[in-house]
Symmetry: D2
Subunit: 302 residues, 4 copies
């Protein structure tokens, strides 16, 4: 299949390599061209403009956020470059509202649009082990099956309305953020009572919470280690905001989301924006007066 | 071993049967005698007073809460009934503060005290599959090993200070309550956006949250089914309060615990105190204006 | 002065009458024409289109919210209708972000823009007793002084950047919403302890909180009377959202605003959207299990 | 009247001087004797033990908190020292629960007990301008009228149940704490948007919030000045806890109180416990990334 791939970040690079290895022809474009150029050695074709990548049978966008996605995919040049039978699949974590606008814009232009955000970090993307949440017209989703099989270990079909996939994705990320906040408060409580963090981690992940996410994030919190970031704290704020926007639009009070929002903003003000988002736990430790690895005074923050 | 067992509820009954089956002589006492009497057919000896049960080699208390535990185990008659070489193991979910008072009272009386609260519901108790969190003097814990092996699948030793085990237990229950609140808000969000609850449940428990607790509690929330209760909502409030008391004593701000506290109190005012504690999710559904199985107007509540 | 006045609601009607009485020529436009037409008897000139009202020396907009203001005042026809020396004063409660967009659009069109939101309810508007928060170019504000003197009892000049006035306005409304939530929780607490609401009201407004707003809102809460609404609860949600947007844009965590947001959404789901915004106190009373005047079951809500 | 006065702090000293000046014979006792001794020059009689002060016609206790009050006033020696016709008036800010216990203990001992906490700071105490919230048997309150007239500008009678006065007092302090938190968030928001704090203060206290408490606390927040403390932040935490205890006992969810509790605990962990309780606003400023007067790194905190 001739695939255009727009947005070559930590996730996109691995995904493109898997598509190439599966025999697809992939035309790549990235704002910072160097990142896309690295894939040429693997067989990718370098596009000089988004419209070139958009002029393929299948166009995948995997951009950083709403702003980047909107700038590319709602531009008239992009929509006009899409072939009449093309499918545009947005796999980035974008807002429900933007997914709705993309759906409407493609419908107006007579083009097929699918939302297919994913669960999984860069290593899962590189290994083709993502979980794909896909929503869009049924026949279009059927066409995409072989591609999704290359990129992920399992695809969940969430109906004909593309934004449904985005609702599930942002809700899932909200749940992760809530779990991390829970860990932060829990570890602060036990540590303040003199219990070693790794001892608590062992108990909790071998009894009620044996899930891998508890082990991974619990490990980061227990060791107070948030650098290098797997997923940056400032992106965590972005995702909490996506959940809040979806909640606000549908009139769903989410007090826990409000709490997370404030914690993430406070953490960024403390200078933790580039920590892994598990670094939100640092706030709980500090608020409890526990020693942490290092703390810059506010005065010295940028 | 000659064991006294005080507090025959849904948990205690299964535990006593396992001890009897393993060949121990168990003298049981319960405030409502009938429940204890049912165990006589299994070989238990019925005590007419707590002091009789307390006069064994090993005394296990498994009472409902702080009030019940304090009334029995801090009574002079109980402490005086303990043999010089007896061990008292409190396996109930009690406060960190009460565990500290029990430790001090036993020390003053020259008797051994161990805190050993558990993770697990009645079926796990009946199956001898509890997780036991034990803390107390090392040599005393060694003596208890064979008994713990009968009652649970694994014992975690949390140091010499008995209350450490209670800190871990109440923190674990806080984490469970936080998880349920997260589920409640998450399901309200997706349902309000037109996504079927069971579809969301399938996605979330097969991707980021494959832990059994998410499947079980997620299933209750997805089906809006909170009766009969596995663990009553009003006991959930009790446990959140235990976490808050431990946090307050150690000066650990836990905003999430505060949020849970208010949700549980509101749910009880709504008449949901006898629901399973997963019923806290009903509040999120209602606050989002979603249809729920049934809702009594406040005016008709008791 | 020749004044165009766009948006004749409960506030605008009184303001226009004061301007007419002070000798100004006022051309009025309203989406629902009937409301504007009522002012003709008082000497107003009825405009058939916003652009007619916009073609005066001074143009005042007093529309319901961001949507209505944006639809009128960012329309090319409006901007083109403004005379080269005209001043557009937006006195509505709009977002900081929209004020910034209005500033930029007027600057691009070479027209003067001022933000001048107000504190005060319809009776204050009718009596010319509003408090006016004005921001914009100093010389422009000087020109407006005589008009502001007709409309309000005092004008506060908040600098050259129009949006500064909106920041102060939305922050003030946040403070009012916070005060009402405080009253709601406080009255629930004392009532549940058997203290009469009016007795508590008397104490509190004669000791630490003698401000008129405490007396007025405290009176509504004490008597559990929220209809007819002076300012509707659903508009309260709008205003809390304005504070949150301003906070989010500037990275200011406001946990109290988050709490208010959820309370207002929950109150609307309960069917209280048309109550006075003091009706948020009903939630606290209900959550405490206190009797309230009437409660519809969720099932019967629209 | 022969009055015993126990607890000579910043409040008590002024109150005793007023009683002496009004012609009463006052026997004073304080844990740190030096403070009581200073009043001898004004005519007070120094008691060497609480029981001596307790053996007067009227006994006023004005101790720091529940712990201090309980240690003195529930001691058998105190109750036995009370004359048969004596009245014990506790004017300190104590918990509702302790007031109930004091009521019961005095009833059991056949002695009269009245709760009469106050609104007002040390200067108001010195000027005899306190507001007194009194509850107890009607005839007893009548006897106390002349004394209350010396100490305060107005007495509010809150019924026959002494603890009712404590409910009103802790609720009032909750409202003050909520107001301060509101100020903190509000000032952070406007400052982050470039508005001068004193300008905002001027607007807000001359429009919607003209109450003196807004001027005073707003002034502290606007100038980021929290030392010396009029009322210490760590006492603010104590009072928030009193409101929460009263709420918990009566099953009243108070999300705002929960938020305040966490803020005060965090502020104390930051090293602000000896600030005026208005210093809670420092947290909002810091969380918004605003410059503050000085900030110690956590590492250097005691």
């Amino acid at each position: 299949m001739q695939i255009g791939f727009i947005g070559i970040g930590a996730m996109g690079a691995g995904m493109v390599r898997n598509l190439l290895q599966a025999g697809h022809a992939v035309t790549v474009w990235n704002r910072t061209e160097a990142r896309a150029a690295e894939l040429v050695a693997d067989g990718a074709i370098l596009a000089k403009a988004p419209a070139v990548a958009a002029a393929q049978e299948l166009v995948i966008t995997m951009l950083a956020d709403d702003g980047a996605t909107e700038a590319i995919a709602l531009a008239p040049s992009f929509l006009q470059a899409l072939r009449p039978d093309a499918i545009h699949v947005c796999m980035a974590t974008i807002s429900v509202a933007l997914a709705e606008r993309l759906t409407a814009a493609h419908q107006a232009a007579g083009r097929a649009y699918v939302s297919a955000p994913v669960f999984g970090r860069p290593p899962a993307a590189a290994a083709g082990q993502l979980f794909i949440l896909a929503a869009g017209p049924a026949s279009t989703l059927t066409c995409l099956e072989p591609v999704f099989k290359v990129l992920g270990q399992r695809t969940f079909v969430l109906g004909a309305e593309p934004s449904s996939a985005n609702v599930v994705k942002v809700t899932g990320n909200f749940m992760l953020a809530a779990m991390i906040e829970t860990l932060g408060e829990a570890f602060a409580l036990v540590r303040k009572h003199g219990i070693a963090a790794d001892q608590f981690l062992e108990v909790i992940t071998n009894t009620v919470f044996p899930a891998p996410v508890y082990k991974m994030y619990g490990g980061l919190v227990a060791s107070d280690t948030y650098e290098p970031a797997g997923f940056k704290l400032r992106l965590g704020l972005k995702d909490v905001r996506l959940a809040q926007s979806a909640a606000d639009a549908a009139m769903v009070p989410m007090p826990l989301a409000g709490l997370l929002h404030d914690q993430y903003m406070t953490a960024i003000a403390r200078g933790y924006g580039d920590f892994d988002w598990a670094g939100i736990a640092r706030l709980s430790a500090e608020a409890a007066g526990l020693p942490v690895k290092e703390t810059l005074p506010f005065a010295e923050l940028p």
